[in-house]
């Protein structure tokens, strides 16, 4: 498990030089700012600042980049809570309860909850990485396309959990997202729905679409208000409420732990990562809740579930990077670039020969999480003041930043055009009671599910018995079925256990 001699060397490596510590606070701040601006993200920040690391030694360079990664991982929660705009795709589920909390005037508390859950999740992710870096990497190698399909399918079931209103509307919105996501060249090389446009070969750009559906359409709805928070007394940023939120997150240890473990597991799978982890964690938390109706209306556990998962996935993605040399997502891909710049190749040999450096990176990241708690709290106090800006200034500013962010992602006008089109469609859907979150989930997970299913069919030659040779996929699918059936069984059990008078009362309240 742990090589204690290497751990001692790692500690002395970190304590003997002040450089790794000097670069961490600015890295965290850069990550927070880039994560908080819709369209920008930690990978963009890491790519922008990658050349700076040329002049650094390997350890400070990686510490700087991971601090940007850590800060950016949390930064996306800030606009998600304050404006219903997920700063990154990893913060989609944070909007579900964070934004309703903000509209009720609990924005400072929601931000505190998000920060504490993020720090806990990231810390647990790195502790697990420290203990299990080798087994995690070996387990990842056992996953094939069928297992990846099962995970994506699990995420897609969130569509059923999400909608409080009509189930049919949620389902249709989710299918619409899946279909929009399938536009472009398929994994098999077929062109679908491209209208012959070269710009659509890679499909509809997902982040601009996500920003359009969530952010811009929400801005259109906000136009009717004077301020984000109606009650003037609640608009003041409250340091006490942020601290209250920080403490409150630990009142939900089960949610924190479940979210963090889901995040580590999903984050370790290359190509899946935080965007799926937050949705899956939210879905599972809501499914298991005694009072699922509270979710989507400002339930603190919803914020905790999402943020603990998206931050802990960072530890999982670092496991595959360090142990296998495989980047799990764009942020770790940039980090792999930094490895290459310093003539370092990740993988089993790197871990065996440089265990002290691997441990130093992990310990450094744990220390970053503690620093994030302090720097993040101050950052949140400033960010919470956003609700004091009148809507007539806020809406145009957010729309411009989102539009420029979309341009920066695609490098062409395809990004801004996608954003505007999805904004109009998103507003139309919201006005008719269709959940735009379901569209986004379909958009993010549908194409991934299709590609993995296609690979499974190609591998198996179309033989359904193939699944019997994949025990991990069977376990995941069984867990998925159990998690879908669990709320139904519990409801039935509660009804069977209820007294006849209570059942009559329940029936009366349902008919009312």
């Amino acid at each position: 498990m742990i090589d204690f001699a290497a751990l001692a060397q790692a500690t002395s490596l970190l304590l003997s030089d002040w450089w790794p510590w000097v670069v961490v606070p600015p890295g965290l701040l850069i990550g927070l700012v880039f994560g908080a601006i819709p369209g920008l993200s930690a990978p963009i920040a890491m790519a922008v600042f990658l050349p700076l690391t040329m002049s650094m030694d390997f350890l400070p360079a990686i510490m700087f980049l991971t601090s940007v990664f850590t800060g950016g991982g949390f930064g996306g929660a800030v606009p998600a809570v304050l404006m219903n705009v997920p700063g990154t795709s990893a913060a989609v589920a944070t909007t579900f309860d964070g934004y309703p909390m903000a509209r009720q005037g609990h924005h400072s508390r929601a931000l505190g909850l998000a920060l504490a859950a993020s720090c806990f999740g990231a810390a647990l992710g790195y502790v697990l990485l420290l203990l299990l870096v080798d087994p995690i990497a070996e387990a990842v190698l056992l996953l094939g396309p069928l297992e990846m399909f099962a995970i994506a399918a699990w995420g897609l079931t969130l569509i059923a959990v999400l909608n409080e209103g009509s189930f049919a509307k949620g389902l249709l919105a989710g299918i619409l997202g899946v279909v929009i996501g399938m536009i472009g060249m398929s994994a098999r090389g077929d062109m679908r729905g491209t209208l012959g446009l070269l710009a659509l070969l890679d499909g509809i750009p997902r982040i601009p679409a996500l920003i359009g559906f969530f952010a811009a359409s929400e801005m259109f709805r906000l136009m009717r208000n004077d301020f984000l928070v109606a009650d003037a007394a609640h608009r003041r940023p409250q340091f006490g409420a942020i601290l209250h939120g920080l403490r409150e997150a630990f009142a939900y240890p089960g949610t924190l732990l479940r979210g963090s473990l889901i995040g580590v597991g999903i984050g370790a799978i290359p190509g899946v990562g935080a965007a799926v982890a937050n949705l899956l964690s939210y879905a599972e938390t809501k499914r298991r809740a005694r009072d699922p109706a509270r979710y989507g209306r400002g339930e603190p556990r919803g914020v905790v579930a999402s943020e603990s998962a998206n931050s802990s996935s960072e530890g999982g993605s670092m496991a595959t990077l360090l142990a296998l040399g495989i980047p799990g997502g764009s942020a770790t891909a940039v980090m792999l670039g930094a490895f290459a710049m310093h003539n370092v190749t990740g993988g089993p040999r790197f871990i065996t020969e440089n265990k002290d450096i691997v441990y130093a990176i992990i310990l450094g990241n744990l220390a970053q999480v503690v620093l994030l708690l302090g720097i993040g709290t101050v950052f949140l106090f400033g960010a919470a003041a956003l609700v004091r800006i009148p809507v007539r200034f806020l809406v145009p500013a957010v729309l411009v930043l989102a539009l420029l962010g979309c341009y920066s992602i695609t490098g062409t006008m395809v990004g801004p055009i996608t954003m505007v089109a999805c904004a109009g469609l998103g507003y139309w859907m919201r006005q008719n009671g269709y959940p735009v979150a379901a569209v986004v989930i379909g958009l993010l997970l549908g194409p991934a599910a299709e590609a993995e299913l296609l690979r499974s069919i190609q591998l198996s030659g179309g033989d359904p018995a193939f699944i019997l040779t994949r025990p991990i996929a069977m376990v995941i699918l069984l867990l998925l079925a159990a998690s879908l059936l669990y709320p139904l069984l519990r409801r039935r059990g509660a009804r069977a256990g209820a007294t006849p008078s209570a059942r009559r009362d329940e029936a009366r309240s349902e008919s009312a």
Partner: protein, 162 residues
């Protein structure tokens, strides 16, 4: 304090309802889009591999669209938002579309400045000094900031990083 009789009998006007054509428009539009996509995908390649997700998604979409359209035709939907004036939203959408269309022609800096001034005016700010005093520094900050970050050029008329 007891209310007078005149105050007590005030009944709020019922909320305006959308017409049935407006209510069914969205499910029909989605069904049309999904049908077009499924036909295009089938034209590209009529194989199991190509249609493994497309066909079930299209079938499910048609079933749910039919249910929703029939339901919407017969009565108002309880989960729909209150009808709001569409004018300001359409105007803002038009401004955004205008910005996207003109950004590369007039430059990002000029486009963003004009959008910020007109959008803020649309949302009720009428003081010229405030409009310019808000839009100008924000444009400079956003455009120069983006120029510094992006690895590719940003078309601008005036603002350029040295």
């Amino acid at each position: 304090m007891p209310r007078s009789g005149a105050e007590a009998v005030i009944i709020p006007a019922p909320p305006a309802q959308r017409s049935r054509f407006v209510r069914v428009a969205l499910p029909l539009a989605i069904a049309t889009f999904v049908a077009w996509f499924a036909a295009d995908a089938a034209r590209a390649s009529f194989t199991l591999e190509n249609l493994v997700m497309v066909a079930p998604a299209a079938a499910l979409a048609f079933i749910t669209c039919t249910i929703l359209a029939v339901r919407a035709w017969h009565g108002p939907e309880p989960d729909a938002a209150e009808p709001a004036p569409l004018g300001p939203v359409l105007a803002m959408l038009a401004l955004l579309a205008g910005l996207v269309l003109l950004m590369e022609e007039v430059g990002f800096d000029v486009g963003v400045l004009l959008f910020l001034i007109s959008a803020t005016w649309l949302l009720g700010e009428r003081r010229p000094l405030v409009l310019v005093g808000y839009a100008l520094p924000f444009t400079v900050f956003a455009v120069l900031g983006l120029q510094a970050i992006l690895p590719f050029p940003l078309e601008t008329l005036v603002l350029r990083l040295p």
